[in-house]
């Protein structure tokens, strides 16, 4: 491509429409992407943004009448283009092989450097990878399997791989939810990398449901709602609140919970002394009945590990005293934890919560229905009634208990997983990253549900999250972890987003620990 005749628009979409089985999910969407800009694309789950991206990537055929131009040249939508074409994609799950190194993963995209006999030239390959990574300011240990690297480093490697053979001042890089599984502390580093790419003249379409994320990095932002383009605005003219109301079509108030009244009982639901594990380094924790406690902290602070330990799912390295409702919980038995009254919502919905080939009904009643003996026969009318009730209560849409759970949106899946944890009527609800990959509307509903359970039947909640909004919306007390121990505590009015961020950032300057094993 000739950079001298730079056209006004890098990418031009006109009237892109898509119908699935009679349901229109995209209503003639227009999108203009300028050369060298970061173009944010936001919308709730089901707004059509993933469908639009999949059409660009060639996974879906658009309806008749959709058209597209790249640098003024028309091209066919819904066809898979080869690497030489100007569109590059990094999908949400990154499609990396975690067991292999950065060198291998980059080579899997662009091919290995070969010797004459066809064997791989590792020296040459290492140099190639090093140059590719250095080009975008990415510094990682190239020999380590990716599973040992941090989330942002993995994302960076996926981006580098997508850009293999890329020429400066051309092309569009599409990043689909690049921060979905990124801890808040690592987002800024990703932004730097993305800005670096745009400085070299690429355009970036940045798809995200984290509005602050988009506002922080994008030049302009387009909002999709229910399959239609609501509008495109320079980021200077909008803020996260304005974007949120454009996305849902009404004004959104972040449901700030009033400080809970004093705990109703003096008895402790959680009593932990000297918890140690992969990250935890002698943590003490007391949680009163009816309390809602948030766990904050940067990656590697023990914030990810603690909820698993409380749910009896800590690894073999975990030790220390732990009592739930006054009874000791041995480490390594989620079942025992459940019998002691712990309901658990794990962090990684796809891997750790959703049982793929099973229906909503089966997933919801998996932990057993309240009051039903575990080894009982499944009484189907009773099960159905109970499932219908819960689907209504947590508002799973559509109300089809016999549909496979993975066919629902992330927000709906999370509602089912929450219902699974709540339907045993637990005394303690433990959650990790409760709103990861959940859109704003469903998010508010999840918060509301948890608050109801707390108010109505004195549920105790411990929620660990890298998303400060979760903690502010639900918690009356927030504990900030650093290096595996509690470093700060915020109570009642102190629980605000800036205060938590300050505490988390202020107590540590180590932002990207990759091998932070706890001292023993």
């Amino acid at each position: 491509m000739d950079a001298a005749g730079a056209p006004d628009l890098r990418l031009e979409l006109r009237g892109v429409a898509k119908t699935f089985g009679g349901t229109r999910v995209l209503h003639g969407v227009d999108l203009d992407v300028r050369p060298g800009e970061i173009h944010g694309l936001v919308g709730q789950n089901g707004s059509g943004k993933s469908t639009l991206i999949k059409i660009l990537a060639g996974y879906h055929q658009p309806d008749e009448g959709s058209s597209a131009r790249l640098d003024g040249e028309p091209f066919q939508l819904g066809a898979v283009h080869d690497a030489a074409f100007g569109l590059r994609f990094v999908h949400q799950d990154l499609a990396l092989v975690l067991e292999l190194s950065a060198i291998d993963n980059v080579a899997l995209g662009g091919g290995y450097a070969r010797r004459r006999l066809g064997t791989i030239s590792w020296t040459q390959q290492r140099e190639l990878t090093e140059r590719a990574l250095a080009r975008f300011g990415v510094e990682v240990d190239m020999e380590q399997p990716l599973s040992r690297l941090s989330a942002v480093e993995r994302t960076a490697i996926a981006i580098v791989r997508a850009l293999a053979g890329w020429e400066e001042r051309t092309g569009v890089l599409v990043l689909d939810e690049p921060t979905a599984s990124l801890p808040a502390a690592e987002v800024e580093r990703l932004h730097e990398i993305v800005r670096g790419i745009c400085d070299r003249g690429a355009s970036v379409i940045y798809v995200s449901h984290r509005l602050d994320d988009v506002v922080a990095v994008a030049d302009r932002v387009s909002v999709l709602r229910e399959g239609s383009m609501v509008g495109t605005h320079p980021v200077a003219e909008v803020d996260a609140a304005r974007l949120a109301s454009m996305m849902v079509g009404r004004t959104v108030t972040s449901g700030r919970r009033l400080p809970a009244s004093a705990p109703s009982h003096e008895d402790l639901v959680v009593r932990a002394r000297g918890l140690r594990g992969r990250r935890l380094a002698g943590l003490d924790l007391d949680v009163m009945r009816g309390e809602t406690v948030g766990i904050a902290g940067v990656l590697g602070s023990g914030r990810e590990e603690l909820p698993y330990v409380l749910a009896g799912a800590g690894g073999p390295a975990v030790e220390g005293e732990l009592e739930i409702g006054g009874r000791p919980l041995p480490h390594g038995s989620p079942r025992r934890a459940q019998l002691l009254g712990v309901g658990f919502v794990p962090a990684d919905r796809n891997r750790e919560a959703v049982v793929g080939p099973m229906t909503v009904r089966e997933n919801l009643t998996m932990s057993g229905l309240g009051g039903l003996p575990d080894r009982a026969l499944v009484r189907q009318p009773r099960e159905r009634r109970s499932v219908d009730g819960w689907m209504e209560k947590v508002d799973v849409v559509p109300r089809e208990p016999e549909r496979l759970l993975p066919k629902f949106s992330g927000g709906n899946q999370q509602k089912v997983i929450l219902a699974r944890a709540l339907c045993r009527r637990p005394a303690l609800l433990v959650m990790s990253e409760p709103t990861a990959g959940v859109d704003i509307g469903a998010r508010e509903q999840l918060y509301q549900l948890i608050r109801e359970e707390v108010d109505e039947r004195g549920l105790t909640v411990v929620v660990a999250s890298s998303d400060v909004q979760d903690l502010v919306a639900v918690c009356s007390r927030v504990i900030v972890l650093k290096d595996g121990v509690a470093a700060a505590e915020l109570v009642a009015d102190e629980v605000t987003e800036p205060a938590i961020l300050d505490a988390a950032e202020g107590v540590t300057r180590i932002t990207y620990p990759t091998e932070g094993w706890s001292p023993t």
Partner: protein, 347 residues
């Protein structure tokens, strides 16, 4: 960009598309239940019966053929059924063929060489089968050795046991060929042997556990996503432990006793060949009725369909290698069709 890159996981269109779909009525339910996708093997079975009735009109469409298929496949069915529970829970048991073989020579040895009472011998054989199951379970669940490798290794040990017990030769004796011992599997009710009854009893038991108990739901969940199941409070390891005991007890105990009674001897070569057919039937069965779930009736249909094909080919005078080709082709076709449909459904 690599071509095999997976599309993003969330399907935003799914929710919207589903809203427009009316709730399935009785008619739709029947259409679904009778669809090729659901019971393809039944249709293939009917087709086979028609084809062989035309191909071999004098020998195939006979009451004798029905008896031959049922009586001749009861043990295969028992071995295949033994796999349903462990496979549902996500563990393989590759030792079942050897467990069957060991129980066969052990029972023959106890009755003929040791001269024990038949009742005592049967009890000891059942105990041996349970012991095999416990060893498998300890290897896989307690020592956390991958079930594929672990049961392959214990299978090798069982093979050594077969040679040891039998002295590497066939065990024959009049005690095994007549009277009560022969009746255990061969006594007939209206031309159908008792082993068919055992097959049905085991199938009903497995069906009941998987479909109507919480344990059954848990077994499937453990097999589909063990991490999620464990975090949801399901005792995954205990279920797998029990699953491996069930497979050894059914394949070694029930099928082992039935085959010994059927053939009236202890043979060093009787067990291992069942392994492949049993797995074929269990996997083919999982494509039937319950869409991707190992289940009892699907497995039975698969065994009998494959058995009908084999019997028909024999009666029609096809070459001796034909049945193996038939089994292989049917299995590949079933799995390919299932795969294509799953892709279409998710696409």
């Amino acid at each position: 960009m690599s071509v095999d890159e997976a599309p993003p996981r969330t399907a935003p269109a799914a929710a919207g598309a589903a809203r427009g779909r009316p709730a399935a009525g009785a008619g739709a339910r029947w259409r679904r239940a009778l669809s090729f996708r659901n019971i393809g093997a039944l249709y293939v079975w009917v087709l086979l019966i028609v084809v062989f009735s035309i191909w071999a009109p004098d020998t195939f469409p006979q009451w004798d053929t029905v008896r031959q298929v049922l009586n001749g496949n009861a043990v295969t069915a028992l071995v295949a059924l033994s796999l349903v529970i462990p496979l549902s829970a996500g563990v393989f048991d590759l030792s079942i063929g050897y467990a069957l073989g060991l129980c066969n020579v052990l029972l023959a040895y106890l009755v003929v060489k040791a001269g024990l009472d038949v009742g005592v011998s049967l009890a000891l054989t059942l105990l041996a089968a349970l012991a095999i199951g416990v060893v498998n379970a300890v290897v896989v669940v307690v020592f956390r050795i991958d079930s594929f490798i672990g049961t392959l290794a214990t299978g090798s040990l069982l093979l050594a046991g077969i040679t040891l017990v039998s002295g590497n030769s066939q065990i024959v004796g009049s005690e095994l060929t007549g009277g009560f011992f022969s009746d255990i599997a061969n006594a007939q009710i209206g031309g159908i042997s008792l082993s068919v009854l055992y097959m049905l009893v085991v199938a009903v038991a497995i069906w009941f556990v998987l479909e109507h108990t919480v344990t059954g739901r848990w077994l499937y969940a453990s097999g589909f996503n063990a991490d999620a199941a464990r975090l949801a409070g399901i005792p995954v390891r205990r279920l797998r432990f029990i699953g491996l005991i069930v497979s050894a007890a059914v394949a070694g105990g029930v099928a082992g006793i039935a085959i010994t009674s059927q053939i009236g001897s202890g043979s060093t070569t009787v067990g291992p060949p069942y392994l492949l057919n049993a797995f074929a039937a269990a996997f083919l069965g999982a494509t039937q009725l319950r869409q991707g779930r190992f289940n009892a009736w699907g497995t039975l249909i698969a065994v009998l369909m494959l058995g009908t094909g084999t019997a028909g080919l024999g009666l029609a005078g096809a070459p001796v290698w034909a049945p193996s080709v038939f089994t292989g082709v049917v299995l590949l076709a079933a799995l390919a069709v299932t795969r294509a449909e799953r892709n279409a459904a998710l696409g």
